[in-house]
Amino acid sequence: MINEPRSAASLDYVRAFVQAAERVLGEVLGEVPTKGTPIFQKEPSIGLQEVNVTVGITGDLQGQVNFGMDMTTALAIASTMMMETVAALDEMSISALQELSNMISGNARFFLNDLGVKSDITPPTMLVGKDMSATWHRIRAMAVPLEISSGKILVTVGIRQGE
């Protein structure tokens, strides 16, 4: 059975990651992102952005969360985090972006705990490229755009109850 993200519980899980992203981006970048209109994915495959950091969710919940953005936005975020201009992604700037996703996921875990849900987060995976898509097994995802001054971060959450 495919999980639809429109159930109240699933929306709570999505909200946990979006709230966490808003909080962490606010602290790390010094600006509160503006939340855009959520997009319900109609197909199992999701369109990826140019730079993507994906974490897996395990425990009471199973699924993935992807933080996608264009290269300009990724470099701007890395530059802010590293307090120097980053012209291209390298080991250090990739580590910075992965750590950002770790911090967001850790905060989301906190919100999920409040919902009585025990979850763990897998180490982040980074995908860089153009015209990519991913297919998430038996999950329909929901994407929420977060606008910051340097561009947009698309937070795509696909979660279902664990089995």
């Binding site: 602290e27 590293m82 250090m92 911090m103 996921s105 850790g106 875990r109 906190f110």
Partner: protein
């Protein structure tokens, strides 16, 4: 007073961020480790005044490393670095002998205060 610090984190970015912060303060980063096993090995060789220890790392996690370091060096002063949402792990780390914890994203003043505070414990 120069404080000798060992930084343990699997993320190069976090190691660099902490190293810059400590060096700006005039403290000495005597070593960096990317997992708990490296931390245990390096602690014995370097005998740092302070260790900052990430929790989730490959090969050996931070809590296991704290247990091993404190078992061999009971006076070790270790500060855990955690993400929000890892409170249960912080409790385990303090039981294992960690002196304090700091939460990511780091607040500079809080990090420096934790180091200075741990030296007084």
């Amino acid at each position: 007073m120069s404080i000798r610090i060992l930084i343990v984190d699997d993320a190069p970015f976090m190691r660099r961020t902490l190293a810059k912060l400590f060096e700006e303060k005039g403290w000495e980063v005597v070593g960096e480790a990317g997992n708990g096993k490296e931390a245990v090995d390096q602690f014995g060789a370097l005998q740092p005044d302070i260790v900052t220890m990430d929790i989730t790392m490959p090969e050996m996690d931070g809590i296991t490393a704290v247990k091993e370091i404190v078992a061999a060096h009971p006076a070790a002063r270790i500060i855990m670095c955690s993400a929000v949402g890892q409170q249960d792990m912080i409790v385990d780390a303090v039981k294992a002998g960690a002196k304090d914890f700091i939460v990511k994203p780091f607040q500079k003043d809080r990090v420096l205060a934790a180091v200075e505070g741990a030296l007084k414990k």
